[in-house]
């Protein structure tokens, strides 16, 4: 099955990464792909969108065709150490020590390496018939302050690690992250200056510094177009000389202002990244559940197609 197998959703905190990641997973499920949705560092958020009990450290089927998991640094590090240590009793002894955690944290990138190693291990899993267990893994990554170091890790470490099982894992992860046929990073913003500025920075460092395949920048929560140019002009001047129901006028003008602000930021995002932003509509809904994500999943459908 064609299309990326690893979709990494990144962006500043508060831009709706979890919602976008869930919508990508929904698009995958709609395309009859078996998807695994991975949450890092925002415990509970994903379970709330999916309306399921809190996620565990092992993938669990939450819907037909969809598994979800909460990936935790501590658990990932344990996996890594258990893999390294020949005796369980020793690895457990080591892990129970606060000092070991400090020593481990002293190794640059060890926690990040452990997280990525876990993700790649899931991508490598096969079912009894030898098919990949998951067609697509969607990673809801930590806020962008953290996602650059996370994604830079394999590059840094595989340069240093020349021997041992970890070196091999990092080289493999590195190859995954660099291959446009396998990996796609999505940078998410909302129509606010700070979010767009951050997205541009992140987009550039993923594309230029880390050479990770980056998809079109995603602008989430865009107010839809509701008025023609002539109608917009009429709204702007109405109210002073004419009487329209003042509440309707206020609503219309507010809508227009939000729409215009979003359009201006779409242009900013486009000229800074030289890529056409993918706009996701603002969802006017009193709930925010899996069912409500339909319009977002539709808009994101294309990202799962081959590059």
């Amino acid at each position: 099955m064609a299309g990326p197998r690893l979709v990494i959703v990144t962006g500043k905190g508060g831009v709706g990464k979890t919602t976008v990641a869930a919508a990508v997973a929904q698009a995958a499920v709609a395309a009859r792909k078996r998807a695994l949705l991975v949450e890092v560092a925002t415990p509970g958020r994903l379970a709330s969108v999916l309306d399921v009990p809190p996620l565990a450290a092992e993938p669990r089927q939450v819907l037909e065709g969809l598994h979800a998991v909460a990936l935790e640094e501590g658990a990932a590090l344990e996996d890594l150490v258990h893999g390294l240590m020949p005796l369980r009793v020793l690895s457990r002894r080591l892990l129970s020590s606060e000092t070991f955690r400090i020593v481990a944290a002293a190794v640059p990138g060890i926690l990040e390496a452990a997280l990525l190693a876990r993700v790649v291990a899931w991508l490598d899993e096969h079912d009894r018939r030898g098919r990949a267990r998951y067609d697509v893994v969607v990673l809801d990554s930590p806020a962008s302050g953290h996602s650059v170091p996370l994604l830079a890790t394999p590059r840094t470490l595989s340069g240093l690690a020349t021997v041992g099982p970890l070196g091999a894992i990092m080289r493999r992860t590195s190859r995954w992250l660099a291959d446009p046929a396998l990996t796609l990073a999505l940078v998410v913003a909302i129509p606010e200056d700070w979010a767009v500025a951050e997205a541009v920075e992140l987009y550039e460092s993923l594309r230029d510094d880390l050479a990770i395949p980056v998809g079109r920048p995603v602008l989430n929560a865009v107010f839809p177009k509701r008025f023609s140019r002539a109608e917009a002009a009429l709204l702007e001047e109405a109210g002073t000389s004419h009487t329209i129901d003042p509440q309707l006028l206020e609503a219309g003008r507010y809508f227009l202002a939000r729409r215009n602000a979003a359009q201006a930021l779409t242009r900013t995002l486009r000229s800074a990244t030289r890529a056409r932003p993918l706009e996701l509509p603002f969802l006017f809904s009193t709930t925010m559940t899996w069912e409500d994500l339909g319009p977002l999943a539709d808009a994101l459908d294309g990202v799962l197609e081959p590059a």
Binding site: G13, G14, L84, L90, R93, S97, A106, V107, T286
Partner: protein, 391 residues
């Protein structure tokens, strides 16, 4: 001409404060609100400093700060009775500076700073940028130059990262952790058979090979050198602990009316309470700036256009306006139910005494200039605070 801001609502609440800490999950407008609180207090005649930790440096742009972090910079506020200085946190710089200041000799400081694993160990000790923000806060308060210091905290999913920071560093310093770091083999404690030692060495040297660092030697050297700065750290950690719990330190919890944020915000609040301090105000940002009280009934739909000259009015504009109003009304109800859930959640966690409740409008566009921040400061002035029980 900027009108003076008088103490009322949120502004009144921080009136007799010396420190205001803005807390909350990422993306809820902490940075902007912290700046607005600081501007409001400066307009009201106070000598104010605002400390931001935002890596994207939004506040830097809004406050027209020059490039570069780590130093206080005067923000021009024409017609303000007070003054405003702003500082962008340089977390790495703060820790380096502390090591320099606390080390007995310059050579000792350079040995620590030059150690290849220093940066990572320092990070592990400090927990996060949160501790660095608190160190910086203590420095600013200690200058005695300011009536009020407003702190914008790093985005964190757990309030405990902030409150635990001093405790964590004290616990580590008081424990045998440093000795162990100096001699990693002691981690194994009782399991000190030759086989165990051999395996541990194998693991650690595996890690060494992986990273290309001479890990054992570096960690051991760092532990020895770091020992010399420990007493100074201990003193400061205690001072920070006291500052966080001081009578004149106020906590403002920021939230956005986003359905998925409720759990985070309530969790945050209960962690703050558990840390032994109370939240003095809750600010809900990005609330729809007007109420659509009108029932959008069928009659109104068709009557909406009355009064507008027929020639310029189209049926489609009327329809579009009604659709917009209906969408915004849906958004408003969604926000109300989130706000109700927030209030219920906070009340259930026994936030006491009941915090001041302030709702700020979703501005379009959001303020990114000093003028925008000043406008928001004025909104704070008029924002009617209410207690949760009155809701």
């Amino acid at each position: 001409m900027i009108p003076p801001v008088h103490g009322q609502g949120l502004v009144g609440l921080v009136d007799d404060a010396r420190v205001v800490v803005c807390l909350g999950p990422g993306g809820v407008g902490k940075t902007t609100t912290a700046a607005a609180i600081a501007v409001a207090a400066a307009l009201g005649g106070k000598r104010v400093a605002v400390l931001t930790v935002d890596p994207a440096a939004r506040l830097k742009d809004a406050l027209e700060l020059p490039r570069g972090a780590g130093t206080l910079h005067r923000v021009p506020l024409p017609d303000a009775d007070g003054t405003l200085d702003a500082l962008l946190l340089d977390a790495k710089g703060v820790f380096d500076e502390l090591v320099r200041r606390l080390a007995p000799t310059e050579a000792a400081a350079e040995r620590v700073l030059g150690n290849p694993v220093y940066r990572n160990v320092a990070g592990a000790f400090a927990g996060s940028d949160a501790y660095m923000a608190l160190e910086q806060l203590l420095d600013i308060v200690d200058t005695g130059d300011f009536d009020l210091v407003v702190v914008d905290t790093p985005p964190a999913s757990h309030a405990l990262e902030l409150f635990d920071a001093p405790e964590r560093i004290l616990a580590l310093l008081d424990s045998k952790a440093l000795e162990y770091l100096g001699e990693p083999i002691r981690i194994l404690g009782g399991a000190s058979s030759r086989i165990a030692r051999g395996l541990l060495s194998a693991v650690l040297s595996g890690l060494e090979r992986m990273t290309g660092l001479s890990l054992l030697r570096d960690i051991s050297a760092l532990a020895t050198d770091f020992g010399e700065v420990v007493p100074g750290f201990r003193r400061r950690a205690r001072a920070i602990r006291e500052l966080l719990r001081a009578e004149a330190t106020r906590y403002v919890l920021l939230a956005a009316p986003d359905p998925h944020a409720t759990r985070d915000v309530v969790g945050f609040a209960s962690e703050v309470e558990r840390a032994g301090v109370s939240i003095d105000a809750v600010v809900v940002n990005r609330v729809l700036p007007f109420a659509l009280d009108v029932a959008l009934s069928g009659r109104r739909d068709t009557d909406a256009a009355t009064g507008v000259p027929r020639a310029r009015w189209s049926a489609s504009l009327a329809r579009n306006l009604v659709t917009c109003a209906k969408d915004l009304d849906t958004l408003r109800s969604a926000q109300r139910s989130v706000i109700d859930a927030l209030q219920a959640g906070l009340a259930a966690h026994g936030t006491r005494p009941e915090p001041l409740w302030v709702e700020l409008p979703a501005l379009s566009p959001a303020p990114t200039t000093l003028a925008g921040i000043v406008a928001l400061a004025r909104a704070l002035q008029v924002a009617r605070g209410r207690s949760t029980s009155a809701a």
